[in-house]
């Protein structure tokens, strides 16, 4: 397993869950330490599943303990105007999704976690995950088109 690549992905996942840079990084590191502590599970070829399960559980523990910073409202306005508009519209489209749906998008399309691993993480069938992904994507595209930023 490429720890460096996975570090970024787990960190991004933790940051999404916790919305705090320092805590997200602490949890990411704790995830890796716990992952390395126990070798029996990953020997069965389910390392990614194990890694995300630890990260998710640690994020849940953390979120119970702390009060977090609010989501930053402003969107970075670098780049051409059209790109800025796209980002603003996409942000609005993301806000229209539920937290679970956003997590699904992050896992599948941003962190590129295989569907099989997502199924195990969520405890549902492959069919259910694919259906959810299809729905979320449709919802996102509809919102984007409504706002006039169809891709």
């Amino acid at each position: 397993m490429d720890y460096e690549a996975q570090y970024d992905k787990i960190y991004r996942y933790c940051y999404f869950k916790l919305q705090n840079q320092t805590v997200a990084e602490d949890v990411t590191q704790e995830t890796f330490l716990r992952f390395l502590e126990n070798s029996t599970y990953k020997e069965r070829g389910r390392e990614l599943n194990y890694l995300y399960t630890i990260a998710r559980n640690l994020c849940i523990d953390e979120s119970r303990k702390r009060v977090f910073e609010e989501l930053p409202e402003e969107v970075s306005e670098d780049g051409p105007e059209a790109r800025v508009l796209e980002r603003v519209v996409m942000k609005q489209a993301m806000e229209a999704l539920t937290t679970e749906e956003r997590e699904l998008v992050l896992l599948r399309y941003v962190n590129e976690v295989p569907v099989k691993v997502i199924c195990e993480l969520r405890g549902c069938s492959r069919f259910a995950v694919n259906r959810q992904l299809k729905q979320v994507l449709k919802k996102l595209r509809e919102t984007l088109q409504e706002k006039g930023a169809g891709l």
Partner: protein, 234 residues
């Protein structure tokens, strides 16, 4: 419904997190467990080409099959087949050098020496395990039968190692093929000119040859590994 590349990029920007501050230090200090023997063997088994496994099983399966219908006097037939098993072993051993990948493999997670040892041990073990049922089928003189089969195998392996060390690349592989054919042909020829070779009188010579060849094989293996080590410094 598949996602477009542009959409994916945009989503990545949406989920962008601030740069982690302690990543490098953490990864540098991260304790990493050494891979166990099981992990090493399992990972390396996958790198041995499928056709090599298939031909090994086929070859030694056919040896067992032939053994069922062979009298003790006709054991030279089996001796003539096994050099090709050794050829497979040598070809697999020389693959990294032949395709110019040796130096790259030396820098990977497991050293080339470890990888080659693991691959050779696995393939060799599978091939020799195939010989055991053949020897059992032959019955009475189990040990002698094993020795008859082992000697041509060891001889091909020894000559093959010498060749791949001095002739790296595809030429070496062709020469190894020639050596296997030569050892294979040697069995019926020796049977023809020395009729007692596979009898009780020749038995001691076979045993001596097996011991000698096993020692030489170990030495040649050591030399070849040392040769690989020298390549690193080149």
């Amino acid at each position: 419904m598949s996602i477009k590349k542009q959409e994916k990029e945009l989503l990545k920007q949406m989920f962008a997190a601030p740069e982690p501050k302690r990543k490098k230090d953490f990864l540098r200090a991260l304790p990493r467990k050494e891979a166990g023997l099981g992990t090493l063997l399992f990972s390396q088994a996958a790198f041995i080409r499928k056709w090599v496994w298939a031909v090994s099983f086929l070859l030694f399966g056919s040896v067992v099959w032939i053994a069922q219908y062979t009298e003790q006097e006709c054991i030279w037939v089996l001796s003539a087949v096994v050099p090709f098993g050794a050829l497979l072993l040598i070809l697999e051993f020389a693959r990294s050098t032949a395709y110019g990948m040796a130096e790259l493999e030396m820098t990977s997670r497991f050293s080339l020496r470890t990888v080659l040892l693991a691959r050779m041990s696995m393939l060799g073990a599978v091939q020799l395990l195939g010989l055991i049922p053949a020897a059992f089928v032959l019955g009475t003189q189990l040990f002698t039968s094993c020795v008859y089969i082992l000697v041509p195998y060891l001889l091909t392996a020894v000559l093959g190692l010498v060749v791949v060390r001095h002739l790296p690349g595809r030429e070496g592989m062709f020469v190894c093929g020639g050596i296997s054919a030569f050892v294979c042909a040697l069995c019926p020829i020796s049977r023809l000119y020395l009729p007692n070779l596979y009898g009780a009188e020749g038995s001691i010579w076979w045993k001596l040859a097996a011991v000698l060849l096993a020692i030489v094989l170990m030495k040649e293996y050591g030399k070849t590994m040392k040769h690989l080590e020298e390549l690193t410094w080149n």
